[in-house]
């Protein structure tokens, strides 16, 4: 004879079936057999006891990610374009159709790369607490048995692997990379680029399948009403077909608004401790735990260094009085000493150095316009230019510049910064600085420039 408790479960189950049919797909016998073989040790739904879990809370986190993660994805794709795929400099080099439509990366506004890359890294860091909260909120789904009742369920689970694996893979590799911890060992750019596409594939499918549920769930509880609900008045959401709501909720230890404030507070904490690397100035000091919050001092050359002269194996003798800049591409090569370069028209420009790692630093540069150097080698409108460094080896010991990057009036072969000579770590005797170009294309310790007509 069934007890009253069993009766209750029976009624609940029936109401669920009316809500959304949990039928088995083809072949029914197989799916039913799977359902009957619950792996021993698999946690029961009742072990998840948070009274806050439910479709509304998950949908709030989901809607934040729905709006923000595409921005992270798109700025990432923009950065691939900024590396000039037309000049074969984008990494990875072969991406098939997986890229934005090609266009020439502009040099204006000068802060464009600072913005796109600052957004890409900064926003992703701020979203870490939201992603963690979202993963926490859907935990019970992982242990639902049967894990699948049909082919449709099985495929959907696979798309969740793309989604969850994708977002965590991107965040982990990105976070390690900006801290120069190359623990992963594989090529960061390549793995991060294709990982982003795997993630986006899962993301689009997930949004397509869950958007109606998200909208319905958000409407089920007015947001403002939740913000007015104290912990004492916090009640679990009604049982949902996905099993997010705990069947045996414990007493709330925090209200829903408290949980949202907690996640938002986590994001705020990360924001306060990271935005300084992109904003610079006094704010840089607040970036306490990341590499680009460090101070080198107050001198004119005391700004962020990327790859020291020692790390690039620059021989001090090669940068001394014997150094010559070779300009080629014209009828005959031109060689210029640093004094000769300093005797030419000097142009001053305030430009940011912005890195793919999200940090940037704006300085006052002065030197010779690249356009003037092109004219000197009798190529007035080059289609591109090849810059080589004294540094030997390494993918960034040379770079190709687009036509607009050579001809921009602020594109310089910089000799001085903030009124003094460049320091060894900033590229003495001469370095490239170009508005809106990725920092790694602003080659340091320049040896030669070849202009191509």
């Amino acid at each position: 004879m069934p007890t009253s408790g069993d009766d209750q479960i029976e009624v609940e189950d029936r109401s669920r079936v009316a809500d959304e049919p949990h039928r088995f797909g083809f072949p029914q016998s197989v799916w039913r057999a799977v359902a009957a073989r619950r792996p021993p040790g698999l946690p029961q739904p009742r072990v998840f006891r948070s009274p806050l879990r439910g479709p509304w809370l998950t949908s709030v986190f989901g809607s934040v990610l729905l709006l923000s993660l595409p921005v992270v994805f798109l700025t990432g794709l923009l950065d691939w374009i900024a590396y000039s795929p037309a000049l074969h400099q984008s990494i990875p080099s072969h991406v098939g159709f997986l890229h934005l439509p090609y266009f020439t990366w502009p040099t204006r506004p000068a802060w464009l790369f600072q913005l796109t890359e600052g957004l890409h890294v900064g926003l992703a860091l701020i979203l870490v607490p939201v992603v963690l909260a979202k993963l926490w909120s859907v935990m019970p789904k992982l242990f639902v048995w049967p894990a699948a009742r049909s082919g449709a369920d099985l495929l959907e689970r696979l798309s969740i692997v793309f989604l969850v694996g994708g977002v965590v893979f991107e965040m982990v590799t990105g976070i390690l990379n900006i801290q120069y911890d190359y623990l992963f060992g594989f090529n960061f750019y390549t793995a991060h680029y294709f990982g982003a596409w795997v993630f986006m594939t899962g993301f689009v499918v997930h949004v397509g399948l869950k958007l109606p549920t998200m909208v319905r769930s958000l409407r089920s509880r007015p947001f403002v009403g939740e913000l007015r609900t104290s912990r004492a008045d916090t009640r679990p959401e009604p049982p949902d077909p996905d099993g997010l709501v705990s069947p045996d909720p414990s007493e709330p230890t925090i209200s829903r608004r408290g949980a949202l404030a907690l996640v938002g507070g986590g994001s705020l904490l990360v924001a306060v401790l990271t935005v300084g690397q992109s904003i610079g100035g006094v704010a840089r000091q607040t970036a306490l735990l990341i590499p680009r919050g460090r101070s080198y001092g107050n001198g004119p050359n005391d700004f962020q260094i990327n790859r020291t002269a020692v790390a690039a194996s620059i021989d001090p003798k090669a940068t001394g009085p014997a150094w010559r800049l070779t300009l080629s591409g014209g009828s005959s090569p031109v060689q210029l000493s640093r004094d000769q370069l300093l005797a030419m028209d000097q142009h001053m420009a305030e430009l940011p150095i912005a890195c793919v790692e999200g940090w940037s630093s704006t300085q006052q540069w002065s030197g010779v316009r690249l356009a003037d150097l092109a004219r000197l080698s009798s190529i007035r409108s080059p289609s591109k230019a090849h810059v080589q460094s004294l540094e030997s080896g390494g993918i960034f010991s040379e770079s190709w510049l687009q036509s607009n990057q050579v001809l921009d009036p602020d594109a310089l072969l910089a000799l001085r910064v903030n009124g003094v000579d460049l320091s060894a770590d900033h590229g003495f005797p001469a370095r490239i600085i170009i508005p809106a170009a990725p920092g790694v294309h602003c080659t340091k310790w320049v040896r030669s420039i070849e202009f191509v007509a």
């Binding site: 098939g96 049909s150 959907e156 696979l158 120069y180 104290s230 925090i254 608004r257 507070g265 020291t308």
Partner: protein, 190 residues
């Protein structure tokens, strides 16, 4: 149509979009090169291993760890208050302990390479500096975060103590909604 939908388990549109997504992932993998997924020298530095690890990182590593910690905290508090109900604080310290722990833990999770000085060689080559300050900075931040939480908790205890003295000794009711809001805001703000 209805039969096909029942056999598959969802609308045909579901099938179309999922097949499309799986094909796209397959395409991305071929561009990357199937061979690139696996590192023959160090298996744990394989893209495949890191991707599957990423699928499981939260659910099978982080979640069990933080849930266990949180349940232990809750159970510990209940055990203590159960034994000495009259000498227990009027306000539960649970949120005042777990919220700063979460904040400090989040910072450690995201910025551990600097804190434990991992990748010091590449860090030095890139910046010309060492990672020496990060452990101290993290400890300092942790101290400040817990300190703020302790202050807020102290304020709450004082407020609750006053309330308790004002409580009607017969009904025993003294807590009002306004203190709950204060508690929510105090605990969430730290």
């Amino acid at each position: 149509m209805a039969r096909a939908t029942r056999a598959y388990g969802a609308h045909p549109l579901h099938l179309l979009s999922l097949v499309a997504s799986i094909a796209l992932v397959g395409y991305a993998i071929t561009l990357l090169g199937v061979g690139s997924l696996w590192n023959h020298h160090h298996w744990w530095q394989s893209i495949m291993v890191w991707f599957l690890g990423a699928v499981l990182l939260h659910d099978l590593v982080l979640f069990p760890a933080y849930s266990l910690a949180d349940r232990s905290l809750g159970a510990g508090w209940r055990a203590v208050t159960g034994r000495t109900p009259d000498r227990s604080p009027a306000v539960s310290p649970v949120n005042y302990l777990r919220i700063p722990t979460m904040a400090s833990g989040l910072l450690l999770l995201m910025f551990f390479p600097g804190i434990i000085q991992q990748g010091s060689g590449s860090y030095l080559r890139a910046t010309g500096l060492t990672q020496a300050p990060y452990l101290q900075r993290w400890l300092l931040l942790t101290g400040v975060i817990f300190g703020i939480s302790a202050l807020l908790y102290a304020v709450r205890l004082v407020v609750a103590g006053r309330r308790r003295r004002d409580v009607d000794p017969v009904t025993g009711h003294g807590e009002t909604t306004s203190t709950d809001i204060a508690s929510d805001v105090a605990s969430a703000g730290s």
